[in-house]
């Protein structure tokens, strides 16, 4: 039955893509119907699951035998595992997904081909659901690359733009670097455990030698870095903003990019068994959360600034996931609250762009509250949530991560605290530049509020951004919910909780104040004389420069020179052999004298050779 959750959007995508233009009229509606249906089925399963006692909640459905070579003990099922962790994702994906489908109805209404867009969205939802419902790593991999494909298609949706096409390919290639890790991890699992299912790996890892958990942990971390745009595979995410904004909201903020966090949490038993791998995860998270925040603080492009923010927030989740049982629950909690508040902000950004002829430069915004009431209010709620003002959602999830990080080590705690300040700073900057400041619009721009289909999803998401924190943390409900799957240990920070909260809120307040103070006056054109930090941050902290000098250029040189080598040396020697032979034959032709005696001589010699050859065989 749970298979229907995946089948519905998958079939809808298949119909819309195979029947092409004939489905243009009802295409978007079919896609919305499929996504909504998927959500309702998910909700039904959730309610049933809640009714069962905790130990009976997980349920396994084997749909069919996918790959099986009995002789080698190789058996991988197409099986879906519905448990507390996966249903949380199912609800997030289908709920936010459906809202974004609805939003796209308005946002994409002027596009040439919304049907194709909706087909890709459905494809994405199906693949993402497969990713979180798979009961083994190989089936997860199908969803994993499936969302990568959907992301590729959607980033490059406006294919006529060369920048979009390049960005799409870059995202796919960076993801494939991560997938290299995932592939090797799956192969290692098979040779070690003879199985790649979560349950077999979980039970096998307990007695396994230390190198197994370390290797698997690092390979899975590489995979997570690719998918979740974590250092050093982060650079594709900023370019991915070439895609239509609903895509940025759904795929590159709320769901797909968080798949790396899901992978780490799902593989909790592996990471629990290797402290080194865990530390690597924490470090990756810490670097990424700071890098993302710094990049986000320097960008004038609203979507790129939000993308930096996404990288940073996922850094929080990855860091939390690296903390072990004290962090898994909070990583997922933050993932869910982030799904709401980041989606609402992206949709808000889309709404602003919609109103300003697709302008993304925040230096040409300002003065929007009077003309875009709902967009401003919902964006503001998202703002309060992300910087962690109580009682908005981000406060709860981030506060828990800070507590957990502080109980891990001083440096992890310092990173998340500093990150909280940076978050407050760059979000305040964005708020000031986009909404609060005076208008600096381009001449022909006449901002207006977006249509209802776009406003409605933003309102619903902003309600979530405001309340999800309280709802999920009251009476520790989310901890109890996930504990049977991920395990949970109460963090024991070195300071009292109240003190930590006070410190956090003060850091946030400082960030906000600096953000306001620096952005009272905003120039229409970005200032050139800036500190080296800002310069570096504007260039994505040289992520691309690094890729280019270390990988792309040498790579291009290698492929080009190999090509020349192949033509000149490998093929050349073959052609040379050809010339050599034809030269010899010209000489040999002279031996064709026409005298019977010389032919007879060669026959004798030839026969002798044959006889010798035959004798050799006999011996």
């Amino acid at each position: 039955m749970i298979a229907a959750v995946i089948a519905l959007p998958a079939l809808s995508a298949a119909v819309l893509l195979s029947f092409g233009n004939r489905t243009n009229k009802f295409g978007p509606w079919l896609a919305i119907f499929a996504s909504t249906g998927s959500f309702l089925i998910g909700l039904w399963h959730f309610l049933q699951m809640v009714a069962r006692p905790a130990e009976e909640r997980p349920a396994l459905t084997t749909v069919y035998e996918w790959l099986s070579v009995p002789a080698a003990g190789f058996k991988i099922n197409f099986a879906l595992q519905l448990d507390q962790l996966s249903i949380s994702f199912v609800l997030l994906i289908t709920f936010v997904g459906t809202l974004i489908h609805i939003y796209s109805l308005g946002y994409m209404s002027h596009d040439e081909n919304p049907r194709r867009f909706f087909a890709y969205l459905n494809l994405f939802v199906a693949a993402m659901l497969l990713l979180v419902l798979a009961d083994n790593y190989l089936l997860l991999y199908v969803g994993w690359e499936g969302v990568g494909l959907a992301s590729y298609l959607l980033i490059g949706f406006w294919q006529h733009k060369p920048t979009a096409a390049v960005a799409a390919k870059k995202a796919f290639v960076a993801n494939r670097v991560g997938d290299f890790g995932l592939s090797l991890a799956i192969m290692t699992m098979f040779i070690v455990f003879g199985s790649v299912s979560f349950s077999d790996v979980n039970s096998g890892i307990v007695g396994a030698p230390a190198w197994v958990s370390l290797t698997l942990g690092l390979l899975l971390l590489l995979a997570a870095c690719g998918k979740s745009a974590q250092f050093p595979l982060q650079s594709w995410l900023l370019d991915a903003m070439e895609g239509p904004t609903p895509v940025s909201a759904l795929i590159h903020a709320a769901t797909m990019v968080t798949a790396g966090v899901y992978l780490i949490v799902r593989s909790a038993s592996i990471f629990n068994a290797s402290e080194i791998a865990q530390t690597a995860v924490v470090i990756t998270g810490a670097i990424s959360l700071l890098m993302g925040a710094i990049i986000g603080a320097a960008k004038d492009d609203i979507k790129k600034s939000l993308a930096g923010s996404t990288m940073s927030q996922i850094g929080y989740m990855v860091l939390a996931a690296g903390l072990g049982p004290i962090g898994y629950v909070f990583a997922i909690l933050h993932l869910i609250t982030h799904g709401f508040f980041k989606a609402v902000m992206f949709l808000g950004a889309g709404s602003v762009m919609h109103a300003t002829n697709d302008n993304v430069d925040m230096r040409r915004y300002g003065g929007l509250p009077k003309v875009m009431f709902f967009t401003t209010i919902t964006f503001f709620i998202g703002y309060l949530a992300i910087i962690g003002v109580p009682p908005f959602a981000g406060f709860y999830s981030k506060d828990h991560i800070i507590e957990a990080a502080l109980s891990h080590s001083w440096w992890a705690g310092a990173a998340v605290l500093f990150g909280a300040g940076l978050t407050a700073f760059y979000m305040t900057r964005m708020m000031m530049m986009t909404f609060v400041s005076k208008s600096r619009w381009h001449e022909d721009v006449h901002p207006h509020e977006s249509p209802l289909s776009m406003i409605l999803p933003m309102i619903v998401l902003s309600v979530g951004a405001a309340t999800m924190g309280i709802l999920l943390t009251r009476n520790h409900v989310f901890e109890h919910w996930l504990e049977p799957i991920t395990g949970f240990v109460e963090p024991e920070p070195p300071l009292p909780i109240q003190t930590i909260t006070t410190i956090t809120l003060s850091v946030v307040a400082i960030g906000v104040l600096i953000g306001i103070w620096q952005n009272i006056k905003i120039a229409k054109v970005a200032p050139v004389k800036v500190s080296f930090v800002v310069k570096a941050a504007r260039k994505d902290l040289y992520g691309d420069v690094l890729n280019e000098t270390l990988l792309m250029r040498p790579g291009q040189g290698l492929t080009k020179s190999l090509n020349i080598f192949d033509n000149a040396v490998v093929d050349g020697s073959v052609n040379g052999l050809g010339l050599f032979v034809s030269g010899i034959s010209a000489r040999l032709r002279r031996s064709e004298t026409g005298y019977v005696r010389s032919y007879a001589m060669s026959i004798v010699l030839g026969t002798a050779l044959l006889v010798i050859a035959l004798l050799m065989v006999r011996i």
Binding site: A165, R176, F193, G555, T559
Partner: protein
């Protein structure tokens, strides 16, 4: 004697060839129809055979049919079906009608001749996969050079003559070495068994070769197969041939005939020369891994669409060879699936791009750009072929590649890891090509391209359907080839490695 199904399958395309030359007043069909119908009837027969194939049978071959041919030398006309042959016969039977339907307007002049050679190609491919007599195998192995030689030399691009010559010289070089090895093998058999025989089954079950003879003979056959499949450094004929040949020819050549090389390794090298196969395996695995990366890297640097595909195939043949010589059930079955997946994706790539190239008579990448605007259906079908080619999960190519890598990883860690790097390179060569040809700003050349018509879509849709089918449900191929692979493993004396930590549940 069995009902001669295999003979019927083999004769059908040949009858079609003959019918092409019967005056039209006796045959109420056009040339195109004759060729297409005969290939469809062949497909029908193959389906009938597949349905009767007994996957649980312990016999080496089924549907055997044998006549004495040259009794003095113990040569028989012996056809038989192993699981692997059935898979490849199936691939041949599926791809031929697709090629005929998709390339309907590929050649304006000399159409009859083109159709004839395509059907002869099909017949010779079927014969190679069905031959159970090594001499017969050799004869058809050489014979299949002829139709391709004419297909390349008479219907290709401007440098078709040189390409055809290069193709046939490489083919003959391999064939000659194989012939020498074959004669040597014959005398060894006479000596040891007291009778001359070319029966593949008898040679693999009864012959005991001394170490050095086996090594030399192995190398002789391997040389021929490695030139055919092509492995580096004997690969340079393929890009030249693919560049000059028409898309239909390339599909027949790379999609089907090149598989004869890898098929020969599985069906002839391993069973007859098991010890040498084991001995040489590490070296061959190394070369295969090298070829995978080498082909992929050079594919990135290509400026011509068809040459890119040729180098991609060189990379992919590396995977197939690697799986075969991994001597694990997973790797070897993975290779069999790979042959099918590669056949399907190669057909998809060459045939879709063929429509593009034919309209502009130019296969340079730089010539195109933004094709998707004028031809969205072509773009979509091409992308699906691309994705299967780069082993996207859900496509047949993924199952194949994953199994080959896992099987190899079980025994050879480093080569498998190196080969896995190709998944990154694959994304680069394929998506970069796609980006430059199909997306971006529309060039002048691309603006008036005509999209596929219904018939063309119909011709290509089975490729998409099968690619997805085997991606999600590869069981038919696995089940059919399983027992033959198990038999081969026993002959070679290889066993599957056990997991390091035994599962508590299953023990």
């Amino acid at each position: 004697m069995n009902f001669p199904w295999l003979l019927i399958v083999l004769l059908t395309p040949l009858i079609g060839t003959v019918l092409l030359f019967v005056p039209k007043r006796f045959v109420p069909f056009s040339d195109q129809q004759i060729a297409l119908y005969s290939s469809l009837i062949t497909l029908l027969f193959v389906i009938v055979i597949a349905l009767q194939f007994d996957i649980s049978s312990s016999a080496t071959t089924q549907f055997d049919i044998a006549f004495d041919w040259i009794p003095v030398f113990g040569i028989t006309f012996h056809l038989g079906l192993t699981g692997i042959s059935l898979v490849l016969v199936g691939l041949t039977a599926v791809l031929t009608p697709i090629v005929l339907l998709a390339t309907e307007y590929e050649v304006q002049k000399k159409n009859k001749e083109f159709l004839m050679w395509i059907l002869v190609t099909q017949a010779s491919a079927l014969a190679v996969f069905l031959a159970r007599d090594l001499f017969l195998f050799y004869v058809v192995f050489e014979a299949m050079l002829i139709p391709i030689f004419f297909l390349v030399g008479r219907f290709g691009g401007p440098k078709k003559g040189a390409a055809a010559l290069k193709f046939i010289l490489f083919g003959l070089a391999g064939g000659l070495v194989m012939l020498a090895a074959l004669i040597w093998l014959y005398f060894v058999a006479v000596n040891q068994l007291g009778r001359g025989t070319f029966s593949i089954t008898a040679l693999s079950n009864e012959l005991k070769l001394d170490a050095w003879t086996e090594r030399w003979l192995f190398l002789g056959f391997f040389f021929a197969f490695a030139l055919k499949a092509p492995m580096i450094p004997g690969h340079t004929w393929l890009p030249d041939t693919a560049e000059q040949a028409t898309p239909g020819t390339s599909t027949m050549l790379i999609g089907i005939l090149d598989k004869v090389g890898t098929y020969g390794m599985l069906a002839i090298l391993l069973p007859i020369f098991p010890n040498a196969s084991i001995e040489f395996a590490p070296v061959i695995i190394g070369f295969a891994a090298l070829g995978i990366i080498y082909g992929a890297l050079i594919a990135i640097a290509q400026k011509n669409i068809k040459r890119t595909f040729a180098y991609i195939s060189i990379s992919h043949f590396g995977f197939i060879v690697m799986g075969i010589f991994s001597f694990t059930s997973i790797g070897m079955i993975g290779s069999v699936i790979y042959m099918v997946a590669h056949g399907l994706s190669t057909a998809g790539l060459f045939l879709t791009v063929g429509y593009l190239i034919r309209q502009k008579e130019n296969s340079l990448i730089s010539n195109f750009g933004g094709v998707t605007k004028a031809a969205p259906v072509m773009t979509g079908l091409f992308l699906i072929a691309c994705l299967s080619s780069i082993a996207l999960p859900g496509m047949a190519g993924f199952v194949a590649e994953f199994m080959v890598l896992t099987g190899t990883f079980q025994k050879y860690k480093i080569p498998a890891i190196i080969a896995t790097l190709a998944i990154i390179l694959a994304a680069i060569y394929m998506l970069w090509l796609y980006q430059r040809v199909f997306t971006g700003t529309e060039t002048k050349e691309s603006s008036n391209i005509i999209d596929l018509n219904r018939k063309q879509i119909l011709a290509l849709s089975p490729l998409v359907a099968l690619t997805l089918l085997f991606g999600f449900y590869p069981a038919p191929i696995i089940k059919i080839s399983e027992s033959t692979i198990a038999y081969t493993m026993t002959l070679v004396g290889a066993t599957d490695p056990q997991p390091m930590i035994k599962k508590a549940v299953n023990q």
